[in-house]
């Protein structure tokens, strides 16, 4: 399992020979005079990227903003000794793709790809006017000079050493890219992804995504197009669609190969392979834990809506049993670690 407080997380799944690691950049200062009341600095939050790799090749999910961040990321990739074949951007904001320019110089054989909807945003973000007004003003003299925009990804699949990686458009990214109405429509047609349905259980015929199906999750721009929704169907169908859930103590068990569940508000959580579910006592909820474990180490707890929390929430714990901030992997305060649904 993951190492607490580390910038490098490595996970494996017994159902595939592929592995993945994450690299998280530290927070960096933003040049601005627009501070919150009482604050004197405005840091840009840490950004994460994922390297999915096999015996020789690798796919990178997301790059960063600045030259320095990109060089550090390139060094990290190089240190793995893998052949980088693809750089995939989950969405089109500059903080997830500007660094690709530097990575492509370092790994010239790699393809840089993204969904069509992401590319549209990339073009806006990398326009000279937008760069000057938004990015260069915040990070002066720190950006790559010629920003590369990704090639259009025409399918929802990557191949990596004979295994398929499926892009799952979840309908949200750093900010919501769908309207609420579009999202409501999506989850109405795909109730299997809804956390509240899992909490209510029993839920049968819930399709799941394979352990490595979620490239870039949470992320993956979506505009809610029929093509993207079809991609979800295809991905689900390719990953054991229609399996019935085992019930233990009236709690629906997760897919042994792992799965992703999505809250009505678009927040998502990955249940890793090999996890089992048990009820949370006193409160309304489900504890997902490594089979055979006790305590809070490495658990994910999903609490359904109740009088105290009309929307419910989930919490993710590190190997020390501390609830973490999902975006950083570090322990956080109660407010930071109760993730609303």
């Amino acid at each position: 399992m993951s190492t607490p407080n580390s910038a490098y997380l490595v996970e494996t799944s017994p159902s595939t020979h592929l592995k993945w690691s994450t690299f998280v950049t530290p927070s960096i200062p933003v040049v601005t005079t627009d501070f919150a009341p009482g604050e004197h600095e405005r840091p840009w939050p840490p950004i994460s990227s994922t390297l999915i790799y096999g015996l020789r090749d690798a796919v990178l999910v997301d790059s960063f903003i600045t030259l320095e961040q990109a060089r550090a990321q390139a060094d990290w990739i190089a240190s793995t000794g893998k052949n980088l074949t693809t750089i995939y951007a989950t969405h089109g904001h500059g903080d997830h793709f500007f660094g690709a320019t530097i990575l492509l110089k370092r790994f010239p054989k790699a393809r840089f790809v993204a969904a069509p909807s992401a590319i549209q945003v990339m073009k806006e973000q990398s326009s000279p006017e937008f760069v000057a007004k938004f990015w260069e003003s915040r990070f002066p003299h720190q950006l790559p000079k010629h920003l590369v925009v990704a090639e259009e990804l025409r399918t929802n699949l990557f191949e990596l050493e004979g295994e398929r990686l499926v892009v799952i458009p979840l309908g949200f990214t750093a900010i919501r890219e769908r309207t609420q109405a579009e999202w409501d429509d999506f989850v109405q047609r795909h109730p299997e992804y809804r956390m509240d349905n899992i909490i209510k259980g029993p839920l049968v015929n819930l399709f799941t995504v394979g352990a490595l199906a979620a490239v870039g999750t949470p992320g993956g721009d979506s505009t809610g197009t029929p093509e993207e929704d079809a991609a979800i169907d295809a991905g689900a169908a390719g990953a054991e669609a229609g399996i019935a859930r085992t019930m233990v103590n009236e709690v629906p068990q997760p897919n042994p190969n792992g799965e992703i569940i999505v809250a009505p508000n678009g927040n998502a959580v990955k249940i890793p392979a090999g996890y089992v579910a048990e009820p949370a006592d006193n409160a309304n909820g489900i504890v997902y834990r490594p089979a055979g474990s006790t305590g809070n180490a490495n658990i994910i707890r999903v609490s359904g809506p109740d009088a105290k929390n009309p929307t419910g929430y989930f919490r993710i714990y590190n190997s020390e049993g501390q609830p973490i901030i999902p975006s950083t992997g570090k322990p956080g305060s109660e407010a930071q670690t109760h993730i609303p649904q």
């Binding site: 048990e278 949370a280 006592d281 006193n282 409160a283 909820g285 504890v287 006790t294 305590g295 809070n296 658990i299 707890r301 609490s303 105290k308 919490r315 020390e320 049993g321 501390q322 609830p323 322990p331 956080g332 305060s333 109660e334 407010a335 670690t337 109760h338």
Partner: protein, 120 residues
């Protein structure tokens, strides 16, 4: 935030020996034998036999939490529970932990043992 339901059996706390105290910035863990762990995130009061101290996840909290190592190797002699979620653990060496459900918006503490997670 949830209070503590009356029908939840806490008798497994009886005679548990405190074997580990883990101090974090936002959470204190009290680890007992039989894989029983109490994770406190909101507030506890620690009475060392002479003086009572209050821990909250705020600056200086770690120093207060560190005082509870006095309880290591002691066993729970008696526990009291209240519907508002407060549990009071009295230890064999005279120390006492009062763990409160003081958070109105978030979880205050959890008690885990094999097969059970109690969220308060």
């Amino acid at each position: 935030m949830y209070g503590l339901r009356n029908d939840i059996d806490l008798s497994f706390l009886n005679a548990r020996e405190l074997i580990q105290v883990a101090i974090g910035v936002y959470q204190i863990q009290f680890g007992f034998d039989e894989d029983v762990i109490i994770y406190v995130e909101s507030q506890f009061n620690y009475f060392d036999g002479q003086e009572e101290w209050t821990w909250k996840p705020e600056p200086g909290g770690a120093q207060i939490a560190a005082r509870t190592v006095f309880l290591l190797s002691a066993t729970i002699q008696n526990f009291d529970r209240q519907e508002n979620g407060t549990i009071i653990l009295t230890f064999s060496n005279g120390g006492r932990l009062t763990i409160l459900d003081s958070s109105r918006e978030y979880e205050s503490y959890q008690i885990t043992r094999p097969g059970q997670t109690i969220v308060v």
